[in-house]
Symmetry: C2
Subunit: 237 residues, 2 copies
DNA sequence: TATCTCAGTGCACACGCGTCAACTGCAGAA
DNA sequence: TTCTGCAGTTGACGCGTGTGCACTGAGATA
């Protein structure tokens, strides 16, 4: 793990040192992000926090936007690991939802800064960052949409409906993650409880789902049957 | 609409002129917000865009944060009007969801900048702004939670469960609003269609809902019954 | 009419910013 | 052992920033 080529290695190789500085830049930025939006963080602030001079920054990144994209990679890297774990665990628990929520909460605890970065900059001021984050989240939703086909109920759905279902789940979780990253420790379990309920409510609607004709959104079509008698009742009066 | 006190009013009163400048500051900021996060917009930029000198800014606001809070008021002002309209319309349509989505889409079209401001700065870098926006959204959710008690099914729920239900609806809509504000006109109807489906899926789960004991989140409790046989089936194998 | 109020101006200040060109010193290749 | 590549430094640049102070001029008041 330490010898490069033959040996004599004493402290650190050149590559290692560079990697260490790069990492310092990333994690300094992450730290600053707990108080400020990415766009309002300056290159100089980051280097100051990392203990290097401003100009040395360019040995690692083209500019702040480039660093931001690297941050997206990093954050989603650990996230993917998490999801892989969650998925393999899944089969051993019959309450998929509860277990998943626990895993998410644990992940937020361990990677709070990464998760905050994702939850925030998804709506942030820098286009390319927003796009990159959204794309990754869409990717998750797509995988999930395929994944849930394992359930017979959902296998009967159209692909589009499964997509919309997965999208709802992902969006709900990401919103909750956003709150979690700002919550104090003792608020976490309350948020966790609520998101678990919300997911459960969504899932519970699955067997009753019946897709509708697609073209009737514009409001011109006459079809206006409410929830088709399977859903909620009409107001008391 | 024009005479102040007796008459002679020619062009504009002092108050009117001041109000006009104030509004210019707000709407300039709103315009700048389409490309940048609030925190990264400078006071000078705003005044430049409004056609006044930087120092005149302070005749209207203490600083940018103060202006931001005024923007929250403004944005939620029009939003409240919208919701009031939506609520009164409700009784005449039996598809509440479809109608509500239409109203939201229309509102986003007409107040795109306000809605983008809300959707973005809800996760933005300035604490007080985030807090103010969240508080207003919570208020909406609370009202909605009370409102849905009109439906017999939901009247039987616990208050906490209605709250979590309203919260899910609000969160889902706000997320969609965030996407809508960035969508091109021809993408709008697709987003609208999806959010309508998502709301419908959530609502369709309502009759099947049964609340659970609250204390079992920590994962120690032995209760691990999945969806109580009412929800989704187990994986195929 | 004369006087007061106050939204907006002009100028100046100290400071933080991103980036440039020239450099230093050391790890690794020859 | 010498040479080279490159992470990091130094110092300077022109520019944008928030804010303080003294001001102006027109609308409101008396």
């Amino acid at each position: 793990m330490s010898s490069r080529r033959h040996d004599h290695s004493d402290s650190e190789s050149r590559r290692e040192r560079k990697e260490r500085t790069r990492h310092a830049l990333l994690s300094s930025t992450l730290r600053l992000l707990s108080k400020h939006s990415f766009e309002s963080i300056s290159l100089r602030e980051v280097t100051r926090e990392s203990g290097i001079t401003p100009t040395a920054f360019y040995r690692h990144f083209d500019g702040m936007e480039d660093l931001g994209l690297a941050l997206v990679d990093e954050a989603f890297g650990t996230l993917h690991d998490m999801v892989r774990t969650a998925r393999s665990d899944t089969s051993t628990y019959d309450d998929v939802i509860r277990r998943s929520v626990q895993i998410v909460v644990a992940h937020v605890r361990e990677h709070r800064d990464h998760m905050r970065f994702i939850a925030r900059e998804r709506y942030g001021g820098i286009r390319r960052l927003r796009r990159a984050i959204r794309m990754e989240l869409e990717l998750f939703a797509n995988e999930l949409a395929v994944d849930v086909s394992r359930f017979p109920e959902l296998a009967r759905w159209t692909r589009a409906d499964r997509q919309m279902f997965a999208d709802l789940l992902v969006e709900t979780v990401v919103s909750a993650v956003g709150r979690l990253t700002e919550a104090r420790r003792e608020e976490e379990s309350e948020i966790a409880r609520r998101i678990e309920k919300q997911l459960r409510l969504v899932v519970i609607g699955v067997p009753a789902w019946r897709s509708r004709p697609e073209e009737s959104i514009s409001g011109i079509s006459g079809d206006s049957v409410s929830t088709e008698g399977r859903g909620i009742e009409s107001p008391a009066k």
